[in-house]
Every structure is written in C-alpha cells, then in structure tokens.
Symmetry: C2
Subunit: 392 residues, 2 copies
Amino acid sequence: MKFSKRMNHLHGSDIRAILKMTEQPGMISFAGGMPAPELFPIEEIKAASVQVLTDHGKQSLQYTTTEGFLPLREQIAQRMLAKFSVSYSPQDILITSGSQQGIELSGKLFLDDEDVVLCESPSFLGAFQAFRVYNPRFIEVPTDDQGMIMEELTRILETTDRVKLIYVIPDFQNPTGRSWSIARRKALMEIAGRYDIVVVEDNPYGELTYEGEMLPSLASFDRKGQVVFLGSFSKVLCPGFRIGWVCASPQLMEKYVVAKQAADTHTSTFCQRIVHTYMERFDLDENIEKMKDVYRNRRDLMLEIIEREFPKEVSFKKPRGGLFIWVELPTTVNAREILKKSLEKGVAFVPGGSFYPNGGHENALRLNFSNMLDEKIREGIPRLAAVIREFL
Amino acid sequence: MKFSKRMNHLHGSDIRAILKMTEQPGMISFAGGMPAPELFPIEEIKAASVQVLTDHGKQSLQYTTTEGFLPLREQIAQRMLAKFSVSYSPQDILITSGSQQGIELSGKLFLDDEDVVLCESPSFLGAFQAFRVYNPRFIEVPTDDQGMIMEELTRILETTDRVKLIYVIPDFQNPTGRSWSIARRKALMEIAGRYDIVVVEDNPYGELTYEGEMLPSLASFDRKGQVVFLGSFSKVLCPGFRIGWVCASPQLMEKYVVAKQAADTHTSTFCQRIVHTYMERFDLDENIEKMKDVYRNRRDLMLEIIEREFPKEVSFKKPRGGLFIWVELPTTVNAREILKKSLEKGVAFVPGGSFYPNGGHENALRLNFSNMLDEKIREGIPRLAAVIREFL
C-alpha cells in the first residue's frame, strides 16, 4: 500500500494540534480563530430549524443540486452587493462546505505540480494546507500596512514563470489583521489583469469592521472575471453549519461546480435551508452589530493590557476589524519556544512562523481576541507577558 | 487564466444532468438514487434538532475537530460491529461530508497520474468522477452474479503495473443491484493481501437487505488493515445532512484526517450532533425496517410490471436489496436514444453506459425503485416499456 506523492508534502495543521491542547480544562486560548459561542443566536436558529422541518421537511432532508439552494444564493447575491459592493447573479454563486472548501477547489482548478501561488507574507496557514495537496511553489509577496507592495509583486511576476494564482485576504487579514488600501486593491486588479492571473479573494472577516466603513472588495474592481471571491457564514453567524460560498464568472463557475460535485456532491441541504430561513425571518445584520460591539471591546481590552504588560521590545498595531492581533518580537526570540512555556502556564496562541509557507519568521505571535471572555483576557495576557519577558 | 491539467478530464455527471431535467413538473423519475422522502422521520429529527440546540447550542454551532464528534463515532463503531461484523475503535472512524467525500479522499491519498484503479464492470459513476480528479486509468474487472470474477482479477493483477486500489460495492451494487458471495469476499481479501493493494469498500446499501441476512463486509475479512470502509447515513436516515464516514486502520486514518482537514476542516457540527441525538433517542433500526418494507414492495411492484410489460428481449434480475434494478437490452439498442424518447414521454432513468468508466455497453438501463410512489411506478414502467418496444 503506497500513498500518492502528494501525501508526502501534506501535514496536519499546527493550529489544529495546538487547538487539541487547548481542550484541557482551564486553558486560556488565544489560539484558534473561533467566534464567541455566547453570541450565536441559538433561539433564532432553533426557530429557523423547526420552521424548515415543519414547512419543507422532505426537501430539507433530501439531496439537492450541487450549486446549492437557490433562495440562499439569491440572498447571498444581495449581500454581496450591499456589503462587498459587487454585483453577482445567483448563478455565479456556489455553496461550499465552508470557505476552506473554496480554497481547496481553487487549488484543484488551477494548480499543477510546481505551479506558483503568490500570497501575502505572512498569510493563512489553512490555505497553504489546501493548496499543498496540488504541490505548488509558494512565493511570498512582501507586504506593508497597505497590503502587498505592488513593486514587489510586479518584480516577481516579471521574473517568475508559471504563476497561476494570487491568494489574498484583503480585509483584516489572517494573521496580521491588516486591510488593504483602496489604491492597492485597484492596483492589484490592474496588474492581475495585465498578467491574466486568477485572484482568489478570501473574505471571511470583511463584515467585522469595528471603525469606519467596509472597503470595496477586490471583486468590485474586477473587469475581466478574474476574481474568485470566497465568503463564509462562519464568522458572522456560526461555523457549525459549514456554509461558505464561491462567487466567480460563468466560465470559472462551470468548473467549480464540476469539481464540487466530485468532491462531496453538495453541501448539507438542511444547513443551507436553516441559514436561508434565519436570514429571511431574523436580522443577520443586527446580530453582526452585536458581535462587533463585543469583539471591539475585547480587542480594546486586549490591546490595553498588551500595551501595559508586554515588554517594550514587542510591536503591534490596532486592527480595524477581524479577529486577530499580530505581535512581533525581536528576531532573537522564537515564539515556538515561548508557546511551550506559555502552554505550561495555561495560555495558548499560534506562533507566527506557521503563517509563512516557506518557513522562517519565528519571532511573531498571533493572538485571537474574539473567543475569550474579558476575565480570561485580563488573566491570560499578563501571564503571557511574563513568559515573553523571560525570553528577552 | 489557465486551468490545471486535471480539469481536462473532469466533466459533470450524466446523472446530475438528467436529475436536473427530472425537476420538470410531472416527470416520473427512476433516475436518481434518492431515498423516499415520505419516509424521513421528520418529527423525530425536529425533536433531535431542538434538543441539540437546547442542551448543547454553543457546541453544536461551533467548530469541532476534523475527526468528528466522538459520541457519533462511538455509535458508528457499535453499528459497524452489529451490522457489518467488523470491530473498529472510534479512533478508526472519520466523519465525512457524505461517502462521496470518502471516495474523493481515497483518490487523493493513493492516486498519482496514470495509476490504476480496478473496479467492477459496471460500477458507480460518482466514484469515477471523484477518482478522475487524480487522473488514473480504470481497468474494469469482469463480474458475474457472485461479484468480481477472481480469475480475471488475478490475471489483471499479474499483468498490470501500478494498480493502486480496488474499488468495490459488495452489497446491492450500484448500478446492478448484485451482492458478492461470501466466498468471493474472502477470495478478494486473500488476493488483495497477496498483492498488498488497498481495497475501498463502498457500502451505502448493505443495511437495506430485503430478504435473508446481511452478509459480512469485506472489512470483516481484512487481516492486514487494507480495507477502507465507506459508510453513509444518506440511504438509511436521510441524505440532506451529508454525513458519511470512513473506517480505516491507524496508519491510513492519519492521512485521511490530514486530507480531510485540508479539504473542508470538518463536517457540519450541527448535523453530526443531530444524527447522534436522533440515534440516542429514537430507533434508527426501526426506521430502517419501515424503509425496507416500503422499498421491498416497490421493488416487487416494479419487477412485476417489468415482467409483464417489457419485451421478452430484455433481461434483469431481482436484487435482494438496495435501490436499483438493472435491465439489459439487446446489444443493437442504445439506451441513450431510448432516454431521449422516454424523457419526451415524461419518464427518466440512467442509461447503463454511464457506469462503464471506459465507455461502451450502451445497451442497459438502471431503474431506481425507492423514490417513486406505487402509482408512479404503475404509470411510468408501462410508458417506458412502450418506448423500449419502439427500439426493438
């Protein structure tokens, strides 16, 4: 029994291994990217579930089309316009099993062995995992507070063969919390258009904007049907349904549907219908506002304690949205070593090195602020600060 | 924008295209492999959903582990022993998004370009689709009423390089409805052991046995950890949750978990918990008994009308379980032509050629008997008989 070659470069996620350790009772975890479960609209979801089963029991438990439940795709099309400033028809939308599946399908559609994926440096480790199945080379594009640095991107495109896709998280990026400026968004689409390269825009956090307005999506600047937009209900409603979506132009969508069909036939009919009924009957935006209030406060509390407790050698920025604070340490320090000690003290986080597909950069850490109650933040951040101080 | 090479050999499923046509009002469809929705235990599922949200709302809507909800895996382990005569620990079980995902993950784990998959001739077209992503060659092993013919299998193994997996549906096969004899099951495992090849046992229909006892699974004869068993709740409870499972030995399971994590993180927490609570609180076996009574009657009714109405040139067997009757026509007749006419008369089925990965064999048709009420069977089969008669 011999595995395929691709299995040689596929390994479990660091985060998932850490998350398993966080199941120990009493652990304070700033590790995962989980939403706060106390904000899930459980009663409303219960009402929606009962209504779906009462009104459409047979249909909601039966097979459905690969593309997904049409009325849900209509709602998503409306939200894409209202929130992400881009017009799609329901036929341009495919329901996926979380946006992780959207990433995996993108790898399947575009990547042959040794093709090149460009991503922000650093970027989301779940995307590396999904793409690695198809054995690409990753080239990390240097970034600053405005997003990818366009001169660097252009230089790489001019000197690199076989660039097949550009993967970016333009809003409240995982792990850095940064958002791209509008100018950079426009510039990226102009460059991608010139080089005729697919841009996968992963956007699970855009609606969690704590100050000011949401910025227009990359997709809104797409004139050639090059952007594949990945959306998700995991961060704005709940992750337990595993409902995400792909928006793409018709010639790409046709292939996504074929690949999705082969992968798992379709996503849970029941979960799709619950999300649809929930949005029809209740106000998702009102729920998002509640989440934003809580997360904004947690972010501010965490930043305040970091400011007070962390040694002066660390640097960090205030993210305007999303779930994460990114902390950089002096280059002499290895965050994986800090993690070992920190876990002994009952505090978990994800070491920054995990977010660089080609390794290195071990002197950073990603802190999640959405999932822990205030008291846990008040207790955990000073404990972590004490561990960090030992390493300086 | 250029697709990966693999997308050249990936096409939508015939069945799905036909299923779309069957959405026309009034269509009598013997095409899909759908269970009868009037048998879904909707009230019990409603009670289970409410209970899950009342007792474990936060957990049921949150992320979970890639492996799946442990208490559900414990229940599956018990059922594997009770029904399929094989002992697995819950750690040997991974929850998948339907058993289609189990097939896809198997392709991912084992198949490099041009590797060989052995399958029954004919076999399940959804499996071809899933495997084709990884560009294998299919070799069809001749079968008779007892299963694969072992002399043919041995001959192929002796003369073929790069055979990486054997894909079989030993119980009430899709599309033929045939079941393997115990002697053949034992023989297959003996041969697979000698050649050290993975056997993917796809078993969605085994529990739908209408006469006599269930036969022991291939997995029950596995002494070397070579069988990957794929199970599903789609045919015995409902397909709308997309809950299936993979059973495999620890060294294989580790890789399945990594591949599943990259594919979609995990399967719906909520659906997993509903299935668990449903089985804890209600009697799944009782529900299966009800399904069996209805499906047995529909099978008998369909066979009776086929016997009476179909021309004498066709041949068919009575399946002892499952969802399908396989009808063979004289080789001069093309079932795809019959389908065109038949759809005009408002009756759908799947042409047999779809079930041969290397083409040919266009003189058969697969009829599903589980999804249509008696009156539809009484109306549809004579109409189909009339169309067939035109072609003889």
